[in-house]
């Protein structure tokens, strides 16, 4: 059964020039214990979706349509109180550049304990003890509970953020670019920590990245986003070996690897269109190698192909990979 189901979700940012359709009719779902990757370029709506799952969208942003069903309840209908019970306890998030979001004048122990007390009816001593356990859990060690954030490196601060996010044992953990801006070796250590936590607490994870390799290693399924819409939704292995959408394929062939022979790579020409007054038809048309007349006239519907879905006119008549 799906733990979370996002249906036809639209989120617009209201600006003087008009509404920017940051997320436009997005649907996907995530099963329990699954790790879902959300991938796409900057500005494709990944972070906006992540924030909306906790109803963190603030004006000028507005959820204009659709539903987010978590465990049978539409969280868009919940009261603010109901939402508070959900945050931290059921769904938690490690936000982008979270390592810089720690309060510099509180010890990390206080910050973890604060989160625990906020969402759980426990006394201070219990919370402090649990804060220590959390630090142990993320590999920092309970003896650092009285340290301040500036005493930690970026990677360790990110571990603290993960300790805070998992402090109330959520079921669904959203990681928004959790390893961006960190060193390779630190990245690898963090990915290992995330995998360990996932196995140990049977976490369901939404992993947001613009980096295909990180997604490929860690996710069961991938949603490829482009300009506020889902381009392709597929299991990771098929996506890599037989990408359906021309954008997925372009992403894969633009990514350098240390394996195999050194090969020529292709960047994707151009840039995503304006989200305020998008052109008619497929938003990827201007950058697409396979563009046809219909692409500039009609928005492609989603086609189902072997349990995957792709929004591309190439699949109107064929079920075979076209790119």
């Amino acid at each position: 059964m799906a733990l979370l189901e996002v249906k036809d979700l639209s989120i617009y940012y209201q600006m003087h020039r008009g509404d920017a359709k940051a997320v436009d009719g997005v649907s996907f779902s995530i099963k329990e214990n699954e790790t879902l990757g959300l991938i796409g370029e900057s500005g494709c709506g990944k972070t906006t979706i992540a924030l909306s799952l906790l109803r963190f969208i603030r004006p000028p942003g507005k959820i204009t349509g659709g539903s987010i069903i978590y465990n049978g309840t539409n969280i868009l209908d919940l009261s603010e109180d109901g939402m508070r019970r959900l945050r931290g306890n059921e769904i938690a998030i490690v936000r982008q550049e979270a390592q810089n979001a720690l309060n510099p004048v509180l010890t990390v122990g206080e910050q973890i304990a604060e989160q625990i007390i906020e969402h759980d009816k426990v006394d201070k001593n219990t919370a402090w003890q649990r804060a220590k356990d959390q630090l142990e859990l993320v590999g920092i060690g309970a003896d650092r509970v009285r340290s301040y954030p500036h005493e930690f490196s970026g990677g360790m601060r990110q571990r603290v953020m993960i300790a805070i996010a998992t402090a109330n044992y959520p079921k669904l953990l959203i990681l928004d670019e959790p390893i961006t801006g960190l060193d390779v070796i630190v990245q690898r250590q963090l990915l290992k920590l995330i995998a360990d936590l996932r196995d140990r607490f049977e976490l369901t994870i939404i992993f947001i990245a613009h980096d295909l390799s990180v997604i490929a290693e860690n996710c069961d399924r991938v949603v490829v986003m482009y300009a506020g819409k889902v381009a392709e939704n597929s299991n990771t292995s098929d996506l890599y070996h037989k990408p359906l959408h021309p954008y997925s394929s372009a992403l894969i062939s633009s990514y350098p690897s240390i394996l195999g022979e050194r090969q020529e790579l292709k960047s994707i020409p151009g840039a995503p269109p304006s989200l305020v007054n998008p052109p008619p038809g497929c938003l990827f048309a201007d950058r697409c190698e396979h563009v046809m007349d219909i692409c500039r006239q009609k928005i492609p519907p989603e086609y189902d192909i072997d349990g995957r879905s792709v929004a591309c006119h190439l699949y109107e008549h064929s079920k075979e990979p076209q790119v």
Partner: protein, 341 residues
């Protein structure tokens, strides 16, 4: 031909010391950020320097450009010693060695239009005879870096451009000066994956067209592999392994290089993530007092001898540009390298 030759270059920073220590006339502790680097950059060569943050790669790049004063060692630009040259004599050389920074959003003045940013460079180095020539130079450099048509970008402020376009403006600014070599410090790490290759291709294209050499600084072996002819792996102020790009990636010898390779994420879901062979993190505080191998505290193959004496970077294969050098005294006891995938 060799453009830049560096021998035993060192940059040490004195640590702040307390009043009492000063009074007692004690020597301050030094952070040995760059501690004995040898490097040889040929015309049209792309040389990679790869390592984690804190390993000294940025200090090295700034020392090479004389933005930080070196402590000792020699740097020869086309045979001329520049390490102790006074700033007044150095200005004509400065044009010939330029830098592209990591953060395109922070390295361009947000209140200047693209044309003004590029014009300023021309004015400082007095490159144009008149307004017409100045305009042509700006136009040419913009189209050279793929910002075509130049007229479309001329009047724009950096805030209106994407990260990739901004990095192209940085390249244009450098290109106007017709440099001999450019230090590119993580030029693509802040850009979207889809535009990274475009910037790296531009770099390769400029090297082909104008024989510009590059020193490419990064922590990402995947992009380093794409552009570099040779790679130096740096750890705490020194090169621990140097070789051609394919040698470093296919036959890495040093345990640190191997760790870096196993840490790089691979876009193929069929290739699993290996267990990371090393523990801990870079600790630059260990740079004040060094005995033995700098990597020993994190190395899985450390032996007693490693802790006593610092290994020299010695040649294990080939010579000249094919040479494979490594600083590890335990080489004979290292297990065979198992490639991923």
């Amino acid at each position: 031909m060799s453009i830049l030759e560096i021998n035993n270059l060192k940059t040490h920073f004195a640590q702040r010391q307390g009043f009492l220590r000063k009074l007692a006339g004690k020597e301050p502790d030094y952070i040995r950020a760059v501690d004995g680097v040898d490097l040889d950059l040929d015309e049209g060569e792309v040389l990679g320097i790869v390592g984690e943050s804190g390993c000294g790669k940025s200090t090295l790049s700034r020392t090479i450009l004389k933005l930080i004063k070196s402590t000792s060692g020699s740097m020869r630009y086309r045979g001329t010693e520049i390490s102790d040259m006074p700033e007044s004599d150095f200005k004509p050389y400065r044009r010939k060695m330029q830098m592209i920074f990591q953060d395109p959003f922070g390295s361009l003045n947000p209140r200047r239009k693209v044309a003004e940013i590029l014009g300023e460079t021309i004015d400082i180095h007095e490159l144009a005879e008149n307004q017409e020539e100045r305009k042509q130079m700006i136009e040419k450099s913009l189209s050279e870096v793929g910002l075509d048509p130049p007229g479309e970008f001329w009047e724009k402020y950096p805030g209106l451009l994407s990260g990739g376009q901004l990095q192209r403006v940085s390249m244009a600014r450098v290109l106007i000066l017709q440099p001999d070599f450019v230090v590119a410090d993580e030029p693509v790490s802040m850009l979207d994956v889809s535009v990274r290759i475009g910037i790296l291709d531009l770099l390769l294209q400029l090297r082909k067209k104008y024989s510009i050499s590059f020193i490419y600084i990064t922590h990402d072996l995947a992009t380093a592999r794409y552009v570099c002819d040779r790679i130096n792996i740096m750890y705490l102020g020194r090169f621990v392994e140097s070789g051609t790009t394919e040698t470093i990636l296919k036959k890495p010898a040093h345990p640190y290089t191997r760790a870096l390779i196993s840490a790089v994420p691979v876009p193929n879901p069929d290739v699993g993530a290996p267990e990371l062979p090393i523990k801990g993190y870079v600790n630059p505080e260990g740079l004040t007092d060094i005995t033995g191998c700098r990597f020993a505290p994190r190395c899985p193959y450390t032996e007693e001898a490693c802790k006593r004496e610092e290994p020299e970077c010695t040649s294990i294969y080939g010579s000249g540009k094919q040479e494979h050098r490594i600083a590890c005294r335990n080489l004979a006891h290292l297990p065979e390298f198992v490639p991923r995938g």
